[in-house]
């Protein structure tokens, strides 16, 4: 046998008949193996041809053995019986050959998978409704409790939430509102000009913005901005066990975390949507001047006549409800996050989708209920 080399060496001494002795030496590590993997693959294929029992393995020349080497050897050894091996490598070889024998459970294709998925989705939806109802009930109970015991009222958290969801959301919502006002006025002005009904643009933009678009835009942006942040915050607090720590200290999670978010958005969103209205009307006024030549003072004068003031109150009322819905849905999803990153990502996505959907659903309900008003 040659002196132990840095790489590996398989020596095959053909004995009498079919038998052979295989001497293995050198470093059997991943690095050394990958340098010689093509040659080794050929040797291995050749060895597979012979009956395993007729081979005699001399592994005493191995100087270093890692898992990759052990697995390679374990495969080549198969059911060989004559194996000489340094006792310090015996365990790793045994573990590698046992590892090869473990069967991963095969994942077959279930013909009923579709049915199972639909069923699971239904059950999941049921759980959502149940947990949502529980959270809503808990929220109402907590609200009554903190109103009775004013000392427990989470005033600091409430003002922080109003600031975060309200004041810091203003630039983006007002910009979006302004642009929507521009687009809406421009498109309707093009149509109205053909009929000579130029002044009707004030009715369209006024009603559209104040009653529908202002609250809707504000709450959709709030769902994307604040709702996702709320879900992520509660989700991370779940992952880091902060929610559990709060409960252990006897602090109600709904009263301290959920309630200020829901109330905060209910207070902030009407104000945000008011500012969005103003920005959108400003955009409308600008375009009305540019395309139809309606001067801003004339626009301002015509606006109260075109849009009854009740529309404004409807818009504000809707945004209170939307704010409650967005924050509630966000908190509901945040509290359902499981302590792993996948669940957190899925929770935030679902939360935004669900809150936007719920806002639009509520808006449709308002449209039907209040069709005779304003």
């Amino acid at each position: 046998m040659p002196a132990s080399q840095a790489a590996l060496e398989i020596e095959e001494l053909s004995g009498a008949g079919r038998g052979a002795t295989i001497r293995v030496s050198g470093d059997w590590t991943f690095g050394a193996l990958s340098k010689r993997r093509f040659r080794l693959a050929r040797v291995a294929a050749d060895l597979q041809q012979r009956p395993a029992r007729a081979l005699r393995w001399d592994l005493t020349g191995i100087t270093a053995l890692d898992d990759a080497g052990a697995v390679w050897l374990a495969r080549a050894l198969r059911s060989a019986e004559q194996i000489d091996v340094d006792p310090r490598f015996r365990t790793i070889l045994t573990q590698a050959s046992q590892g090869l024998l473990v069967q991963r459970p095969a994942r077959g294709i279930d013909p009923l998978a579709g049915v199972v998925r639909i069923g699971q989705a239904g059950i999941e939806f049921g759980f959502h409704l149940r947990d949502g109802a529980t959270l809503l009930g808990q929220l109402v109970l907590d609200l009554v409790r903190v109103l009775r015991r004013w000392r427990d009222f989470p005033l600091l958290e409430l003002s922080a939430n109003v600031y975060r969801a309200g004041v810091s959301a203003l630039p983006v919502t007002m910009l979006v509102g302004f642009l929507i006002g521009v687009v809406l006025t421009y498109l309707s002005a093009l149509q109205l000009k053909r009929y000579g009904a130029d002044l009707l643009v004030i009715n369209i933009v006024g009603i559209g913005v104040v009653r529908e678009l202002g609250p809707l835009l504000a709450s959709i942006i709030a769902a994307g901005r604040s709702g996702s942040a709320m879900t992520a915050q509660l989700g991370v607090m779940r992952v880091t066990e902060e929610i559990e720590a709060l409960s252990v200290m006897g602090v109600s999670v709904t009263a301290r975390l959920v309630l200020p978010k829901v109330l905060g958005l209910a207070i902030a969103l009407p104000m945000v949507s008011f500012c969005t209205d103003v920005a959108a009307l400003a955009g409308g006024m600008l375009i009305a001047k540019l395309t139809l030549g309606i001067a801003p003072p004339a626009f301002m004068e015509a606006l109260p006549r075109a849009v009854e003031v009740v529309n404004f109150w409807i818009g504000l009322g809707k945004s209170v409800v939307f704010g409650i819905a967005v924050a509630f849905v966000a908190c509901h999803y945040g509290l359902r996050v499981l302590p792993n990153t996948d669940s957190l990502a899925a929770g935030v996505t679902q939360s935004v989708v669900a809150s936007v959907t719920s806002v639009i659903l509520l808006d449709a309900m308002f449209a039907i209920l209040l069709r005779d008003v304003g």
Binding site: S4, T63, D66, D67, Q98, L338, T341
Partner: protein, 263 residues
């Protein structure tokens, strides 16, 4: 292992830290710190709470850039422009984070298989065999393979993390508080496991620990971090003889006497 049997790129010190200056904001954590882990040895880093052991490990891992001095692992600086060289050095080391740092979206099996798949060069059967061999080494059942980290106990998380750190048969294993949170029985079997693995494949270990028994059982050399630098480095008996307040408290206390007389 004879000298010519070593791979060509082997270096005598796997971790080399020279003249390290490490600041957090304006606060100087390490100054003029020299530290070394030699190939094949178990180096234990000890130091009081807040002395910056974990920060030193983070600098060695390349997770924090030092403010001065240099850090080389396997002769490679983490600032090396060659992605291949840095990646090769990274594949030669394994890290056991204190809290496991398992990928929470992966099952136990996927966590241990991940470094093997990333390195490439192995087929799925070989990966499976190695994963189950690693799980057996850390005394986990094959039935645990499909659990998610969230469903594991603290001790099991640690063992899975160790299995993942060992998956690539690293030449340098970095252990941050490896026996914290394990019961004494598991601590002992952890020490036995590291000892046995080192007979098969002689890798270096850099260990941060407060557990004097583990320190006594495993270490070849000990480095003591205090007063912003390494105040003593060498075999345990030499380090214990160094007159310094921290060393006297750490090794000389009641716990220390118990650990060293039993051992």
């Amino acid at each position: 292992m004879s000298a010519e049997a070593k791979p060509q790129n082997a270096v005598d010190s796997v971790v080399e830290v020279r003249k390290l200056l490490n600041k957090i904001g304006n606060f100087v954590l390490h100054r003029d710190l020299d530290f070394e882990v030699r190939a094949g040895e178990v180096m234990t880093l000890v130091g009081g709470s807040g002395s910056g052991k974990t920060q030193l490990v983070r600098v060695i891992l390349g997770l924090k850039r030092p403010n001065g001095g240099f850090v080389r692992v396997f002769g490679v600086s983490w600032d090396d422009p060659s992605f291949v060289r840095v990646r090769a050095a990274r594949e030669r080391m394994g890290m056991l984070f204190q809290n496991g740092a398992l990928y929470s979206a992966f099952t136990v099996y996927q966590n241990v298989a991940f470094p093997l798949r990333e390195r490439g060069g192995l087929d799925e059967d070989a990966i499976r065999a190695i994963v189950y061999a690693k799980l057996a080494q850390v005394e986990l059942e094959p039935a645990h393979a499909d659990l998610l980290p969230a469903n594991l106990s603290g001790g099991m998380v640690k063992r899975v993390a160790l299995a993942r750190a060992l998956a690539l048969s690293p030449e340098l294993l970095i252990l941050d508080e490896p026996t914290a949170g394990l019961d004494p029985d598991r601590s002992d079997s952890f020490v036995r496991l590291i000892k046995r693995l080192r007979t098969e494949n002689r890798f270096a270990v850099l260990m941060v620990t407060h557990d004097l028994n583990t320190l006594n059982d495993l270490s070849d050399r000990v480095s003591v971090l205090a007063d912003q630098h390494i105040i003593a480095s060498g075999p345990i008996d030499e380090v214990r003889a160094v007159p310094h307040r921290f060393i006297e408290n750490f090794f000389g206390g009641e716990r220390g006497r118990r650990a060293f007389t039993d051992g």
